[in-house]
Symmetry: D2
Subunit: 383 residues, 4 copies
Amino acid sequence: MTEEKAFERLLAQEIEVPSWAFGPSGTRFKVFHIPGEARNVWERVEDAALVHQLTGLAPRVALHIPWDRVEDWDRLKAHAEGLGIGIGAINPNLFQEEEYRLGSLAHPDPRVREKALAHVRECISIMETLGSRLLSLWLADGTNYPGQDDFRARRRRLEASLKEVYAWLPEGSRLLLEYKFFEPAFYSTDIPDWGTAYALCLKLGPQAQVLVDLGHHPQGTNIEALVAFLLEEGKLGGFHFNARKYADDDLIVGSINPFELFLIYHELASAEEEGGVAGETVHRVAYMIDQAHVIEPKVEAMILSLLNCQEAYAKALLVDRDALREAQERGDILLAHRILLEAYRKDVGPLLAEVRRAKGVPEDPLKAYREGGYYERAVAQRG
Amino acid sequence: MTEEKAFERLLAQEIEVPSWAFGPSGTRFKVFHIPGEARNVWERVEDAALVHQLTGLAPRVALHIPWDRVEDWDRLKAHAEGLGIGIGAINPNLFQEEEYRLGSLAHPDPRVREKALAHVRECISIMETLGSRLLSLWLADGTNYPGQDDFRARRRRLEASLKEVYAWLPEGSRLLLEYKFFEPAFYSTDIPDWGTAYALCLKLGPQAQVLVDLGHHPQGTNIEALVAFLLEEGKLGGFHFNARKYADDDLIVGSINPFELFLIYHELASAEEEGGVAGETVHRVAYMIDQAHVIEPKVEAMILSLLNCQEAYAKALLVDRDALREAQERGDILLAHRILLEAYRKDVGPLLAEVRRAKGVPEDPLKAYREGGYYERAVAQRG
Amino acid sequence: MTEEKAFERLLAQEIEVPSWAFGPSGTRFKVFHIPGEARNVWERVEDAALVHQLTGLAPRVALHIPWDRVEDWDRLKAHAEGLGIGIGAINPNLFQEEEYRLGSLAHPDPRVREKALAHVRECISIMETLGSRLLSLWLADGTNYPGQDDFRARRRRLEASLKEVYAWLPEGSRLLLEYKFFEPAFYSTDIPDWGTAYALCLKLGPQAQVLVDLGHHPQGTNIEALVAFLLEEGKLGGFHFNARKYADDDLIVGSINPFELFLIYHELASAEEEGGVAGETVHRVAYMIDQAHVIEPKVEAMILSLLNCQEAYAKALLVDRDALREAQERGDILLAHRILLEAYRKDVGPLLAEVRRAKGVPEDPLKAYREGGYYERAVAQRG
Amino acid sequence: MTEEKAFERLLAQEIEVPSWAFGPSGTRFKVFHIPGEARNVWERVEDAALVHQLTGLAPRVALHIPWDRVEDWDRLKAHAEGLGIGIGAINPNLFQEEEYRLGSLAHPDPRVREKALAHVRECISIMETLGSRLLSLWLADGTNYPGQDDFRARRRRLEASLKEVYAWLPEGSRLLLEYKFFEPAFYSTDIPDWGTAYALCLKLGPQAQVLVDLGHHPQGTNIEALVAFLLEEGKLGGFHFNARKYADDDLIVGSINPFELFLIYHELASAEEEGGVAGETVHRVAYMIDQAHVIEPKVEAMILSLLNCQEAYAKALLVDRDALREAQERGDILLAHRILLEAYRKDVGPLLAEVRRAKGVPEDPLKAYREGGYYERAVAQRG
């Protein structure tokens, strides 16, 4: 792709940030309190807006219910819009009530499933109130011990529950179904892999699609290949971007293997260039970040995450895809590989500087953040 | 299940053994020559028959083409039948020709795909000649480097090739589609996981089902859970049993984590007890062993593998499933877990001795093998 | 080993239980409140004593400071002794203060290291007060991002800190140094593997030994082999027993791969039978459980854990080690393997019943627990 | 470091290439014959020399005995020197004889150990003849089944064998001891991890050091951290560079996670800048490539590998280590992380072009190779 066309695409790039990344989060061992972190949903939205203001990349903030529940939704929406951002995906919480000890939508007890369904129902009505089109569903459901529950019975309950949820979806909205290999359930999870999520989405219908979280795979998984598969099938709903070394570490996206991030964006950019299924599909992909900054300053971490995504996308756009296709078809392994490497190595700094100028954001958002005194003010105000 | 009913089931248990496990096999570093190993298909069939004669568990031998190709198929069939066994699944080889360097059914070059298809066509005609009902398809296809080929283009070619194969399937026969996480392709494999195999089988039709090889998963995978999923969907075609510590080590089944083998059989036995989809599905599951004995004596290793499967099945049959269900429904995690543990701990020696008497095989097949002088005779004859 | 000798060994088997397993614990997503769980150190000691009373296996309870800190240590000791148990290892906590965000003994700031050292110093003085001989040291130290800190600088600080700790150790006591592959530090941990712990212990001296937690290894690790290595070198200090499917799941020991637990005990039992280094070493191995029961009843989970260890040890003792050695020396792979399998398959129920009678504990401790009304009383009293 | 100093370091960069990477190699499934690949040691040395001629990075070729054994060693040495390169490490082969089925230096049978020792002895004498200073020792020793052999007995035999080898080492030479997590032994390897290799090297003495192969670790291992540990202890002997996605895939170095390669070089460059142990140690580190190109053209793959190492080293040299240290000491996680990221992102093309001019090699070695007709000539001559 030419730099001109890449420039256009980069101008249009959008990634949702999660409200929960701006408040306290930790490991099972400790929740450290990071100076200046947001104390409530209003401050979380402010931080999200600041991130967008500095990067021009994050025009929406995803909410998590009940953490972000307010009495007056219109006021929250106005608060966000007043700060220049909108509301993105709504994320139900199906893991923090005592009743969910054995699961939520797949729980053996119908009363618990109904409680969970009622919560999802509420989230869908919040979507409608806020004008959101995305229900982002992650389940902590699973088991910790062999024999604890019956896999097939759980599957049937889960499927039945999801069908109820699906029926409630407003027209034009989508259910993004997330999978996770392990944690917090340790022996089995009810949606452990993309295959399970995909199979369930097939049963549900066209408004159900798979959500790929980069940290939810077994070690050694080729994520870019499964992204390509889902694109091809029209079932890639969106991403939860983050990074990990071992498990679901929820680190800054691109901090462990930036080449992998580039390869994922290469699949997306390739699909964008096509007119067929993948091309159409990719335009609906919901790009979202899901991170938990447990020791580092949160706003800065989020800015860095977005910049890493932007850089990866820029490089992916610049892949010489005609030359690549030709090399691939000729079976010229090393030339094909090097065409990707060359794009990955490109210095996209000047191009991104131009994009930022066009967006009216600082050329170096991190420097602007550090020098703008935002952090110090947050510490002073929030303690 | 009562011991009486378990006895009936155990009498009916059948597991195919692979001809290739009786001949030379090794790692990329060395193929050791194990004394007495079979030198040709006739001897491989003899070894398979001996294993069945001593265990009563393996009434069929799977063939691999071209390794087991003969001029006179009728003679091979008669040879097997004369020794008391039949011919099982036919396994095409799509990885040992120079042309397959970049793949077979997903190769970029249509001429290579046609060559591969012609080979599969030949295998299907061998199936018909030999009366086999199973085409067991494993592909070595994949890539070694990012960019080497286009994932989606490969998918399309693979799907088109498989549709051709499917169209050739004789009525009443099945295509068992295997997946593999890695090796011999190291960066990506074209069917890396059960999800991909399942999605392709859905597109192909009811005669296509997924084949689960126990060694073809990333570390930490809960295999029993995905077996349950495939059973529930009517898409579990069969197994390639073996064991591994790290990769696809092809060790004796049950030698690394026998509890996992038991848990897999527990899913199968649970489904057998039902009248619905899973119950019907499970009766068609093709049980097969796929092992490569690289340092140990091959016939003895195969006998041990079969006995480990028999023991795991016996214990799984004896799970008190009514009590289990009740504990699961009550959310009594530890009672449910212990009901499995108790069945796993059961001494099924007396029950299996009875089964062997009823089958007319030695009560201790390994002892009978060691004391019967089979190994010494094989060494003397085959060198 | 004969059953008579095994009986003697089983009578002498002792495993410490951790006080913290009886109180609330959870994942980063949720701490579920399990009915009847202990609310303070007095109740935790009572639960530990109950576990010992029912199993005869757990004569000591390990403490965690500050969770178990009391004003009057003599009263706590008397409380435990009055209930029939003693105090075991003392575990400092170097991860729950805000200052430990970047580490404790390896922290870049000397003031934080001094704080951490002062805490360890206090723990050593508690050891002396309570008559404990074991300081069990686990560090959460590490980094989350490439570049966050200098690996070698951290190593030097850690080594210097540990040397201070070592110098404070009372005569006859030991420092058990734990390693952990990941979590809560996600990019690097300062003691990631047994090799690092071993190298540090070598530098410290004979009172420092390695502590093996079964959940702290990368997937695919052969734990029994590294146990053998540490035994051979006289550096196996002890165990934190538990189980896991993927990460450090802290599940009931033996619940995922009981064969692995048996293989570990086989190494220990083999070393016990020898007169040399390993034989002497093994008699000092501190057997401890470290689990976090996040969804299941805690006392019952602990009883099951101990019984699983007892069963594994019983089977390991019964391995025919003379026959095994002979088969190994002859290179008879399958006979040697089967000798282990045969011991693993043995029904040790009658032997363990005898052991329990001799210890004066119920023959079925789990049944006795369930029928004894302990759980109901705890729920009633503790809510 | 300034670009001027980096330039000097880059001029001095040297990486050994392995003779075996230029001849046929494959997986257990197939050895593909790559057009133009070297047919004998003379051609392998020619290919190595060509790689050096085009890159200026590989002044020595490592040999593998017996694959590279010739009658007239002086002639081979002269052949290499005539082509502008020298002979590097000598690699004994302890896995390709039938006798090594159960191991070599740790084999239960003393006659096999003696055979293996005699082979190593021969390799040491070849070292002396050829003026090599490095014995690079990798063992395929291990077991495939629980119980197959006694871990501690194997350890004792291995240690005794290594002590014999060590005693034979000529003054000034080194034994580089490699470890490997798995393969070709599948249940246990006798030197599975750096900890075992390190412990053995400590026992042997100062001429024994650890060899790190990038593909020989469990998934999720932080290799740069263990490199730092070995540097700090003066026990880092050298590298076998390559890359992998899952197991020991022996792919082109830098092809899967180039950031990890950079992080490893960052540790090396940091240690170089110091005057203490690590600084001294690093100057003796033997940089070697160990790859198996199973589907791609071999000379080109090797050139790309070297260029990837050169690029990673250049970027690592340019890290602003003073700023990094300051950020680390202040606990400024994100600044420290970004200082690494910034160096990683640097366009080192101009600097490397200058280095290549100074070395008198083509500015684009891959282009020069492709356009120089080398491949076509090799195909024509070698078939």
